[in-house]
């Protein structure tokens, strides 16, 4: 046991010295393994913690903010929504199907471990250049994996987002989000309590899966990525489904004191965190752990990342009730230890004490880095631009990878199971899922525009929050809270750390202004291949609530409606897709985010929807105003005639924020109301007919627009 070995475990010299101080002796192999995973970036947040602390996490409706397995907010009628987003980037690069599948499985467990029945899954995906042959294989595996797991467990996948960019070539991002519902008064936490209480293991057996997955997720890929492959975990969604039902059945009794899933770093992190949070000690007898393989060492069992397992502290005497439930569901069940008053974790295996570590210093003396930051270089200035050709540019834009129809993807996800999906993928700016047996509904979305964040981390991250808030608002729902999934490169590089710090500041600013706190999240660093980082990608998962699902508004316009632009004429082309796809430039500053205007415009839209006069609503985002109109028409299968308007590219394709397009029966009335509220508004035109007639008189048939829009994914994937 020495420094060299510690280094192989991912502990640097300083960290290893700290281990020696805490232990007062040379640690055993298993002990070193425990330190290494608990102090890995993935588990300890050593590079990000100082920044995450600055996020706003409070609101009257927040029941549990960050620090639990998932965030919990009150949604009314005595209910709580529990949600979180988590990354599975590195595993998805190594084995796209299993990486994505186990990502979904992991986030589901974070949510049902708190007592919630999972009711919706979403995801946020980033892939490399579509022209790169590897991209197709990764897209295929990730989409199949998400569907394969989510469809089988019976949780509808209702939304998500996908971008393509060469910066993700060697490092795709797979962020999965789960939302669950529980009675607000019956939330289960992970802090262990009650000295002597039994510690119980349930779920699948332990194998040698994913050993050192947590440390792998904390290191960038070099050319040796291949050799890291044996750690691949395989998901078993069937067992997960049984685990959900069995845990919820047990949660209906009073048997549970504390419960936590075994996620990254498996038995180690779950036992250390549960005991640590409860201020107690824990003693584990590994001989009792259900095992799939023979001859596993204590080290292997403590670090295994076998999926579909949970750790539960039971009330004394509750073993019988619990065992009966898990046996009914044909899941493994074993009492593997008990709580102690020693404040230490003691691990026994085959008559030997393999680990004996004081828990307080393991947590308190975990490394915490204030890594140096450097500002991002300013974006390239915008060069000379071609004139906009509205019809041609629109057809090209709706066909581009970042705007093309995602139907090929969501057609592989069961979005209706559960019988509560009011707005399926593609039907509204946020998915709408009704709460079983109530009128109440949730509005759910994931958002981030990484090219904005790369150009200006603070503004770009604020934009991501604003867009999530706007997407929820556009359905008529009230935004409540977010979960954030911070995907960045190597934090030891000052520019990357600067991106991270800037993004946190931007999120914080937007959350405060919009009353939209962060209640959970996840950090994924070292997303680099061969030294080149991904675009900074702080993915935001937003949750809102609608008192009556029947009030939800989608984005599909119907014939005979007035189209009204709210929020002011767009003009900002910096970092727009038009600039990239039509002018061939990734340049300029991202659109400024005026959060006061955002809030004013959004509150107005929400009030109009509540008043009942809005038939459809869509925010102006990627691609700008004309793309937003095109999407509303395609979704509603109607054409439109647009009236006189400026012909500048900035007006039709600028990506200014805080703007919405509404389809209403009476445009004049809406204009008057907007004027009264001091909100800029403009009548754009009227829906109807077979095509989109532009102010210059050109008409694009709906069929042309649709075939352009729907071509990309099938062409990429089915060739």
């Amino acid at each position: 046991m020495n420094q060299a070995l510690a280094a192989e475990f991912g502990l640097d010299a300083d960290e290893y010295r700290r281990v020696l101080d805490i232990m007062g002796r040379t640690p055993s192999f298993a002990e070193l393994g425990i330190f290494s995973v608990m102090w890995s970036e993935h588990c300890s947040y050593k590079s990000s913690r100082v920044w995450l602390r600055t996020l706003p996490t409070q609101a009257p409706w927040v029941i549990h903010g960050p620090g639990e397995n998932a965030g919990v907010v009150a949604i009314g009628e005595g209910l709580a929504a529990i949600f979180k987003m988590e990354s599975h980037n590195h595993p998805s690069f190594i084995e796209p199907y299993q990486g994505a599948a186990t990502g979904v499985g992991g986030i589901l467990r974070d949510v049902f471990t708190m007592g919630a029945r999972p009711v919706a899954n979403l995801n946020a995906l980033r892939f490399g250049d579509p022209a790169n042959p590897a991209t197709r294989r990764i897209v295929d595996g990730v989409v199949r994996g998400i569907g394969g797991y989510g469809n089988c467990v019976g949780v509808p996948t209702v939304g998500g987002e996908i971008n393509f960019h060469p910066a993700y070539d060697g490092n795709p991002l797979v962020n999965a989000m789960t939302v669950g519902i529980a009675p607000a008064g019956r939330i289960f936490l992970s802090a262990a309590a009650g000295i002597g209480n039994p510690v119980v293991y349930v779920g699948s057996r332990t194998g040698r899966d994913g050993i050192h997955g947590a440390t792998m997720a904390s290191a960038e890929f070099g050319a040796d990525a291949e050799s890291k492959r044996p750690t691949v975990q395989v998901g078993d969604p069937f067992v997960e489904k049984l685990l959900i039902e069995a845990c919820l059945e047990l949660m209906a009794t009073d048997a549970i004191v504390a419960i936590q899933d075994m996620g990254a770093a498996g038995l180690t992190s779950s036992s250390v965190e549960m005991a640590g949070k409860g201020g107690v000690g824990i003693e584990l007898d590994l001989d009792q752990v259900p095992q799939r393989e023979t001859g596993m060492s204590a080290y292997e069992m403590m670090l295994s990342e076998s999926q579909e397992r949970m750790l539960i502290v039971l009330r004394p005497g509750a073993e019988g009730i619990a065992r009966a439930i898990f046996e009914k569901w044909e899941l493994d069940f074993a009492v593997i230890g008990h709580l102690t008053g020693t404040g230490r974790i003691v691990v026994r295996h085959q008559g030997r004490i393999e680990a004996d570590i004081p828990l307080a210093p393991l947590a308190d003396q975990a490394p915490l880095y204030h890594r140096p930051t450097a500002p991002s270089p300013p974006p390239r200035p915008i060069g000379s631009l071609p004139a906009a050709r509205l019809a041609e540019d629109l057809v090209r834009l709706v066909a581009c990878p970042d705007l093309a129809s995602r139907a090929w993807v969501w057609d592989q996800y069961d979005s209706t199971v559960g019988g509560q999906t009011v707005k399926r993928p593609g039907a509204a700016d946020a998915a709408i899922v009704r709460v079983d047996g109530h009128r109440l509904a949730l509005a759910l979305t994931t958002d981030c525009t990484p090219r904005y964040v790369a150009a200006d981390p603070e503004a770009g991250a604020a934009q991501a929050v604003a867009e999530a808030w706007r997407n929820i608002t556009a359905t008529g729902a009230r935004p409540l809270a977010i979960t954030d999934n911070m995907n960045f490169g190597n934090p030891e590089k000052p520019v990357v750390m600067g991106q991270f710090a800037g993004a946190v500041a931007g999120i914080a600013r937007a959350c405060i202004a919009l009353d939209f706190p962060v209640v959970s999240g996840n950090v994924s660093l070292y997303n680099e291949t061969a030294g080149s980082p991904i675009l900074p990608t702080p993915a935001i998962g937003g949750l809102g609530v609608l008192a009556d699902a029947a009030q939800a508004v989608g984005l599909a316009a119907a014939p005979g409606q007035d189209l009204v632009l709210l929020g002011g004429d767009p003009s900002h082309l910096g970092q727009s897709l038009w600039l990239r796809e039509i002018a061939g430039q990734e340049a300029g500053p991202p659109p400024p985010v005026d959060l006061a205007a955002e809030r004013r415009h959004g509150d107005f839209v929400r009030a109009r929807i509540a008043a009942g006069g809005v038939a459809a609503c869509h925010d102006v985002a990627d691609g700008g105003l004309l793309v937003a109109i095109g999407e509303m028409l395609l979704a509603g299968d109607t054409g439109a005639v647009l009236g006189p308007a400026p012909d500048a590219a900035g007006f039709w394709f600028g990506e200014d924020q805080a703007r919405y397009v509404l389809a209403v029966a009476d445009g004049a009335a809406l204009l008057a109301a907007a004027q009264a509220a001091g909100i800029p508004a403009r009548l754009l035109g009227r829906t109807g007919g077979e095509g989109l007639t532009l102010p210059d008189g050109a008409t694009i048939s709906l069929a042309t627009l649709r075939s352009a829009h729907e071509r990309f994914f099938p062409a990429l994937m089915e060739s």
Binding site: G148, N151, C152, P237, F238, K241, T416, V417, G419, T421
Partner: protein, 230 residues
Amino acid sequence: MRAGIVVFPGINRERDMAIALERASGRAPRMVWHRETDLQGLDLIVIPGGFSYGDYLRCGAMAAQSPVMESIRAHATRGGHVLGVCNGFQILVESQLLPGALLRNASLRFLSMDCHLRVERADTDFTAHYQRGQVIRAPMAHGDGNYFADDATLDRLEGEGLVAFRYVAPDGSVTAAANRNGSARSIAGILSPNRRILGLMPHPEDLVDPLLGGTDGAPLFEGLAASLAA
């Protein structure tokens, strides 16, 4: 109508089905755990959708061997009504209560979208509240819905009028494009010779509420409730 919904491990559309049945009949169905064998008093047994046993091996194969299937077989022999939807249909063909097999979708991909179905006959307890030839919409969500049977079986099904639903275009025409999973003769649902057992792939139970996009599935349950009214 006293309905029971059979729950195998991995079934996941049992609540959707319960909602649809209760909406139509005003009576909450009984949930039947797969180890139960006493189905006394039930008029209708429903095997809902999902992934029984993870759909490992073959969809429905392991559930078809479950103890409750013997009781379901006895119920069917007594002339009782059985409805199998999606995984339920797969279980019915695996247990040979209905002929044929459900193979992997021709595209080899999971298909989750609305499809259009043509009601091939309206003189059954399942379809009594539809018109013959009516085109209805229903969500589908399956990876293995590609109906297969040998030609003799298919000819018999057609000849005896046991095809209940077919995948069609919105105008009611049978087209290859509308038959997304590649089913033989565009078959989406079939009946037993006594027309008391129906198996179908799409999910009428997920379209019984205007809020969720339509009510095209409701007449199936309302028809059953009317036919089986106690």
